[in-house]
């Protein structure tokens, strides 16, 4: 896809004015990751109550695609059922961003946020909920994102 299609107004807006930017004081989920190739960094914080994501924030450094993707993901999951969040797929993220046919190098930027989210949910599922089966499944999904 061409740059004109990637860097639409909305992507630039989320890049320059990220929604839900920041940290939570006592997050139930706190997860950080970086893309070793380009150095994009992302940290996501979530609070989960009664099977709902009640609060979510992120901080990070990186390209417009990775940062807009993270910010839009926080909006997507805010207030959502935990079950639905667990099921989010690569396609959901790309649909949400309106970015398809990104090249292999740049798709990693778009998916870093989902990878961080899934890794965070893995820790939450395995350590707090002791749900090893779901945890393992989500861990596999996270590692398949690159």
């Amino acid at each position: 896809m061409s740059s004109a299609d990637i860097y639409r107004e909305i992507i630039l807006d989320y890049y320059r004015n990220p929604r839900n930017y920041g940290k939570l004081p006592n997050p139930d989920v706190a997860q950080r990751d970086s893309n070793p190739l380009c150095g994009d960094e992302l940290e996501m914080h979530l609070n989960i109550q009664e099977n709902k994501v009640v609060d979510v924030k992120f901080t990070g450094k990186g390209c417009a695609i990775s940062q807009a993707s993270a910010s839009m993901l926080t909006e997507l999951i805010m207030g959502k059922d935990f079950e639905a969040v667990k099921k989010l797929s690569k396609e959901d993220i790309l649909d949400n961003l309106g970015l398809h046919d990104l090249g292999p190098a740049r798709i990693k930027c778009a998916l870093l946020s989902l990878k961080v989210l899934k890794s965070g949910l893995y820790s939450y599922l395995s350590e707090k909920l002791k749900d090893t089966a779901s945890a393992d499944k989500i861990k596999e999904e996270a590692s398949g994102l690159y």
């Binding site: 740059s3 860097y7 380009c38 150095g39 740049r106």
Partner: protein
């Protein structure tokens, strides 16, 4: 002046189109350069006509292959003005050369509380091996800082030297990010006065300017073939003969031995003591063709051409509003490397946009995260030039930067 038209004709890849119909503008030469037909031909010629293992067999093919392989060693000695051909060890690249020194010299000579000094503008390959070594030996790693002009703060070197604990100073002769040409002679002079060994990373210097090891007077010197028209997988470690003689081997195996008994082995002569196993014969031969190519142009001419292109590019790029250029602006102090940032456009986004116009540059931390921290950026964009690049290509690049600005509405 060099004849660019003739040179470009030797590089078939420069004729290819990218993104359907865009002429390729290859500005990622600090990462790796393109290869001329002469190099490609010499490699296929070896495989087609005299492929065989070297040094051991007595048949004709092996003799031809051994001769070609060893001739590259002579060419290298001449190219960098090394005193002895046996001081030239073939390795996989700069990274392996530095690791070899850290392992085979460092473990014998760096002890508890000793200091190894590197710089803030090193490639990871000249930082990580020293972190590993100093941790293992209980020694310390210190850094010469970089000033706001992108040059090393040499006063800091004096402070370290005064402790009397420095055993090795290691630095790159040209920064792969800032393009800064290090004042190597001065550093080496100060180290020699204090009896301190010096390793010079020549990965970015040897390809772009005349290097004379006898004048430079360092102890270890490393560089890679693929950054100077040669193939990947070949590099050189040069070290003083007496140091190589005292060092333990890096790899054990065939070719590096004199006699092997059940519990005892004696080492082969230099440089073979450090070349265990079947080496990268074809690519060493290809490297010889690359050296011939550069020799024919002349390294002074190579440098002259790059200075001209760099000056032109610096002049144009600094006129763009919102541009931040890193490193010295004086082309006498800078190689053909320009690192920059444009407004709030992240380098990856910038590289994606200008790639659409056929312009290949690098974006990211350039394996120099310590320097990125010093510059307080997470990444930069980097354009780097070589003998086949033209001012017209710089114009395409500059035009593309303006397009990126438009797309990002800045």
């Amino acid at each position: 002046m060099i004849n660019i038209e003739n040179i470009r004709n030797d590089f078939p890849i420069l004729k290819r189109k990218v993104h359907k119909d865009k002429a390729l503008v290859y500005f990622d030469n600090a990462a790796t350069t393109q290869k001329p037909m002469q190099v490609i031909d010499s490699i296929s010629h070896y495989y087609l006509h005299y492929n065989s293992n070297i040094h051991r067999a007595v048949h004709e093919l092996a003799e031809e292959a051994t001769l070609a392989y060893e001739t590259t060693r002579d060419k290298i000695a001449k190219f960098i003005n090394a005193k002895n051909r046996e001081e030239i060890v073939f390795v996989r690249g700069t990274t392996e050369a530095i690791n070899l020194v850290a392992y085979a010299w460092g473990r014998q000579n760096i002890n508890k509380d000793d200091i190894v000094v590197t710089t803030e503008y090193e490639h990871h390959s000249n930082i990580v091996p020293w972190q590993l070594l100093t941790k293992e030996r209980g020694a310390k790693l210190e850094y010469i800082g970089v000033d706001d002009n992108g040059e090393l703060i040499l006063d800091q070197l004096n402070r370290y030297l005064e402790t009397g604990k420095v055993k090795l100073v290691t630095f790159s002769q040209m920064s792969n990010v800032l393009g800064t040409i290090t004042n190597s002679e001065e550093i080496i002079r100060r180290c020699k006065k204090n009896g301190v060994r010096v390793l010079v990373d020549g990965a970015q210097s040897v390809p772009h300017m005349k290097v004379d090891l006898q004048k430079l007077d360092c102890d270890f010197f490393a560089f890679s073939a693929h950054k100077m028209l040669g193939p990947t997988g070949v590099g050189v470690l040069w070290a003083r003969k007496e140091l190589l003689e005292a060092m333990v081997p890096f790899n054990g195996g065939g070719d590096m031995i004199r006699e092997v008994h059940k519990y005892e082995t004696t080492w082969n002569d230099l440089p073979y003591k450090f070349e265990a196993g079947t080496p990268n014969i074809a690519d060493v031969i290809g490297f010889g063709a690359a050296l011939d190519y550069l020799d024919k142009i002349g390294m002074d001419k190579v440098r002259e051409h790059e200075v001209e292109i760099t000056r032109y590019a610096l002049d144009k790029i600094s006129q763009i509003k919102g541009i931040k250029i890193y490193g010295p602006m004086d082309t006498a102090k800078r190689g053909g490397v320009i690192s920059f940032n444009l407004g709030d456009i992240h380098p990856h986004d910038l590289a994606t946009i200008i790639d659409e116009d056929g312009v290949a540059i690098r974006s990211g931390h350039h394996c120099a995260q310590v320097l990125m921290e010093r510059l307080d950026v997470s990444a930069t964009s980097r354009a780097s030039f070589y003998i086949y690049n033209t001012k017209d290509e710089v114009d395409v690049f500059i035009k593309s930067l303006y397009r990126a600005k438009e797309l990002f509405r800045i």
